[in-house]
Each structure stands twice: as structure tokens, then as C-alpha cells.
């Protein structure tokens, strides 16, 4: 492979060079700080870019310009937003629980940042190579639900409590298909470590890559994972708990100024982290799509795939209508749970059949036929009635 190693490993090499200047006793701590600081800088920057990208993208989908006053074509909008949220007055309701009200956004942002510790951003560029990396990611993700509940309950307001209950119920329900959809990849790769999973996908047969998305069970798993990830981050079409036209921002109504910005930051960071995990599990992590493109550095590929997934999220937000609460829960328990279990069974069948056309045919039909049957069977049929008119007499 013709990989210019210096460009690809430039961050790793510069970190080792910097560590050479530090006395040996302090090296572990400085190494940890040097690894963590880029994550703390890059992903909030990505958050700023995403906010303006989303507003302009949504605007174009809805046949209007997005923000276009600040800077060239409106792309300095995040600076204006940051200044606004930092200088706004921090209003806390008098009957609110002060300590919990303060701790909720902190816990949310902390849990969202912790999840980046196991994502491999490039070759040899992961913060910690934990043996149980994927399990760590889900464990940290489950702390977000507690933070959402704390935010909603501490505001002592009916709307925020209702929004928090709905959000927690939605997040718990969609955590099950999220974990089950990733179990397929764990089964296929035989390891819970994210680095091992990416290394398995980084090889090529002629020019085609070995990504898991190019198998029937991998594709189904990716689709189910993305639906569950959209629901976990409370994004449209699953944003009933925070819908602006429904419940006026749900569980963070009573927050203003910097804490509101922290909630926003935490939600988007969670979205990036789950997309990063989807890239690691299904899309090959930092691996290039074709074997003749491996000269492009690995971290560029990771961020390119991340930006592509963010654009898909924005596209879906602008296109699909919001789901009602019972439709949401019905989708999670009645459709996605059986499909993920069927996906696990299909991955087992794929592993034990000899490779060839029969394998593709059997596995694809094993997945498509129940999907069609389930989706048709679960649709509630409304009988069309003859239209009658009542006029004022």
C-alpha cells in the first residue's frame, strides 16, 4: 500500500516528539492531556459548523435562504450565536431545585464527551483501546437519560416534566434496538474493541473494501442503527419531547443563556458520537472506500464520512414529518425489535453458509420478506367513509 506514513501519522508523531521534552515522571499525565485536548477542541468546532450547515440546509430544503447576514453567506453565524448565549441573563425559576438544575447540563455534556474515548479517528489514533470498548460507549450513553430527567424534573414546571418523561421513555425504548443492531457487528468480528472492528474492515479484495455495510445483515443493521440513533438524540422525526410547535422545547424550557447552549452542545455531541460509532461499526472507520484511494490520510476519511452522515441527518430532519408518541413507541417495540433479532439470526446464517450467490439470495430474502410482512401488518387501516357535510341551518 502506497501510504505516505508521515502525513497519515502526523498527529501521533508530533505527540511523541512533544513528549520527548517532558520529564519521565510527568509523561503519563501529559500524554493523556495531549490526547484529550484535540477532542475537546475539534468536536465543539464541528458543532459550530453543523449548526450553520443545518440552518442553511433546512432553509434551502424549505425553499428559503438560511441565515445570510453574518459573515460571507452567513457562515460566521456560530460566532454571533456564541456571543448571544454567553451574554444572556441566566434565569432560574424560584421554585426550581437549584443544585440539580445546575448539574443536569454538566452531566449531559460530560457523558457526551466521554463517549469519544473509544472512537478510532485514524490509524493508531484512539484515546483508549479498551477491551470492552463498545460496551463502554453504551454505558456512557445511558447516563444521558438520567441527565435529561434531572433537567426536566428540577425545573418544577408541567411542560418540562412532561417533556422529560416522554424523552426518557423514548430513549430507553430505542436503546434496545441500538444495542441489538450493534451486536451483529460484534458477532461478526468476534471482539468488543473498536480498534479490532475497524482493523477487520480495513482490507480489500481487488478494489472493493470489506466494510460490513456491504453485506445484507450489515446494511440492515446500519439502517436500524441510524433510525435508533436519530431517536436517541431526540432529532426529527423523533423530536416530540422537544418539538417547538408541540411542547415549546420540552425539558429545557426553563433554561436560558449558557446552560441552554450546553444542552444544545450535548445533544449535538451525542449525535456526532453515535454517528462515529456507526462509522466504526459499519462503514469501516478510517478506511478508504477503494484500495487506490488509501494515500489520503485516515483521519480525513473519518471526518468525511462523519460529515456525510451529518448531512443525512439534516436531510431527514427537513423531509419527514414528526412521529406521534404512540407511533414512536410502536415503531421501537413492534417493528425494530423483531427486525434486529431477525438480523442477528441472518448474520448467523451468513456465517455458516458457503460464500456465493445462494448465500446472498437466502439472507436478503430472510430480511426483506419479514420486513414487508411486518410493515404491512402493523399499518392501521382506516376505512374511508362517505364524506358528509353539515351546514348551519
Amino acid at each position: 500500500m502506497i501510504v505516505p506514513d508521515t502525513v497519515d501519522q502526523i498527529f501521533v508523531l508530533s505527540k511523541h516528539w512533544l513528549l520527548g521534552y517532558v520529564p519521565t515522571a510527568l509523561q503519563p499525565i501529559v500524554s493523556a492531556i495531549l490526547s484529550v485536548a484535540p477532542v475537546l477542541v475539534v468536536f465543539p468546532l464541528l458543532f459550530a459548523i453543523t449548526t450553520v450547515l443545518e440552518r442553511k440546509g433546512l432553509g434551502r430544503i424549505q425553499n428559503r435562504y438560511g441565515p445570510n447576514r453574518v459573515g460571507p453567506y452567513g457562515f460566521s453565524q456560530p460566532i454571533a450565536d456564541g456571543i448571544k448565549s454567553l451574554t444572556k441573563e441566566d434565569i432560574v425559576p424560584r421554585s426550581a431545585d437549584q443544585v440539580v438544575h445546575l448539574l443536569a447540563p454538566l452531566l449531559l455534556v460530560m457523558a457526551a464527551f466521554l463517549a469519544y474515548a473509544v472512537l478510532p479517528i485514524g490509524r493508531n489514533m484512539v484515546l483508549t483501546n479498551l477491551n470492552a470498548g463498545v460496551l463502554f460507549f453504551f454505558a456512557v450513553g445511558s447516563m444521558v437519560e438520567l441527565a435529561v430527567f434531572m433537567a426536566g424534573w428540577s425545573s418544577r414546571s408541567k411542560y418540562s416534566l412532561l417533556g422529560a418523561m416522554r424523552a426518557v421513555a423514548q430513549m430507553i425504548s430505542y436503546e434496545v434496538p441500538l444495542v441489538l443492531a450493534s451486536i451483529v457487528v460484534i458477532m461478526a468480528s468476534g471482539s468488543l474493541s473498536t480498534v479490532a472492528i475497524v482493523n477487520l474492515q480495513a482490507s480489500y479484495t481487488s478494489i472493493w473494501p470489506h466494510w460490513f455495510i456491504f453485506t445484507p445483515w450489515g446494511f440492515t443493521g446500519f439502517v436500524l442503527f441510524m433510525i435508533a440513533a436519530t431517536a436517541e438524540s431526540n432529532r426529527s422525526p423523533f423530536d416530540l419531547p422537544e418539538g417547538e410547535s408541540e411542547i415549546i422545547a420540552g425539558y429545557y424550557i426553563e433554561y436560558s443563556g449558557f446552560k441552554f447552549a450546553l444542552f444544545f452542545l450535548g445533544e449535538y455531541l451525542g449525535m456526532f458520537a453515535t454517528s462515529g460509532l456507526a462509522i466504526t461499526l459499519f462503514l469501516g472507520g478510517w478506511a478508504a472506500p477503494f484500495s487506490f484511494l488509501t494515500w489520503i490520510p485516515s483521519y480525513i476519511w473519518f471526518f468525511a464520512k462523519l460529515l456525510a452522515l451529518i448531512c443525512v441527518f439534516i436531510w431527514i430532519r427537513g423531509t419527514l414529518p414528526r412521529l406521534r408518541m404512540d407511533q414512536l413507541m410502536g415503531l421501537a417495540w413492534k417493528f425494530m425489535l423483531p427486525m434486529t433479532l431477525l438480523n442477528i439470526f441472518t448474520a448467523g446464517v451468513w456465517h455458516f453458509m458457503p460464500s456465493g450467490f445462494t448465500r446472498w439470495l437466502v439472507c436478503t430474502s430472510l430480511l426483506i420478506v419479514p420486513c414487508l410482512l411486518l410493515s404491512r401488518g402493523l399499518k392501521q387501516r382506516k376505512k374511508l367513509q362517505i364524506r358528509t357535510y353539515r351546514f348551519a341551518e
Binding site: 440539580v100 479498551l130 477491551n131 470492552a132 460496551l135 463502554f136 453504551f138 454505558a139 456512557v140 445511558s142 447516563m143 437519560e145 438520567l146 430527567f149 434531572m150 424534573w153 418523561m165 426518557v168 430507553i172 436503546e175 468476534g190 471482539s191 468488543l192
Partner: protein, 166 residues
Amino acid sequence: MTLFFLIAAALTIAGTAAAMSLRNPIHCILSLTLGLVGLAVLYLQLGAQFVGFTQVLVYVGAVAILAVFAIMMTRSAGSPQQPAFSRSWLSGSAVAVVVFAVLAWAISSALPSTKIVPPQPAVSVNQIGDALMHKFALPLEIIGLLLTAALIGAVIVAMPERRETP
């Protein structure tokens, strides 16, 4: 005893002591969550990574949320009107202190105070999976049965009774 052990132990004890003595039940659950995270940190220090992450996933992500939902549904949230401790709190605390004294005496007198620390065992998740499939296959199936029974039982017990239509 290293500094990290002392910090994690202090965090755990503070969280659990607060959980059992605060007046507001929701504050109790939140400090219990802190104590359970402290326990997970202790598991990680002992080298049991899988158990530590499972502890956070199950206890913080499920049991704490379940308890909070139950407090909301039984309307015990908010400042309680009745006293938080029962009438027999003195005898209860005395029993707990006696139990701790007996356990501490048993621990310090039974075990030799040796400084020989065995090396850290290296356990990977592969080994845990192997053990679950070979040596502990029967307990795994029984746990599956038990979780199914608990799931169905909890739903049936908590279901509101059907009102008979007159």
C-alpha cells in the same frame, strides 16, 4: 492503599450515605447514582472492566431511572409532608451499627495482614464469553428464564385492573 482507591471509596460512601439520609426521594436516587458510579470505578481499579461497564449500564441506565419513575408515579416526589424516618429509627440504626462492628471485627481478625499482592489477572471479554458458553451455560439459560418471568410478572403486577363495564 493508593490515592485513587481512597478517592473512589470516599465518593461511594458519601453517595450511599446521602442516599439513605436525605429527605427528598429524588435527591436520594441521584446520590445513589453517584455511589454506584463510585462502585464502578472501584471495579475498574480491581481490573474487572466488563463488570464495571455492565454496572453503569444496568444500574445507572435502568434501575435508577426505574426507581425515579416509580417515585413520580406514587406521588412521593417533592418535599415530603410526613417525617422521613420511621418511628423505630433508633433500634434500626443500632442494629446496623452492631452488624458493621461484627463484620469489621471478623475481617480484621480472620485474615492475615499480608503485603504480598498477587499480579493483576488479565481477563478479556473473550474469556468471559467462553466461560458463559461452556462452563456457565446452565446458569445463563436459567437467568434468561428468570428475566422473562420477571418481565411478564412485573407487567402483570403493575397493570391497572380492568374496570368492569356496567
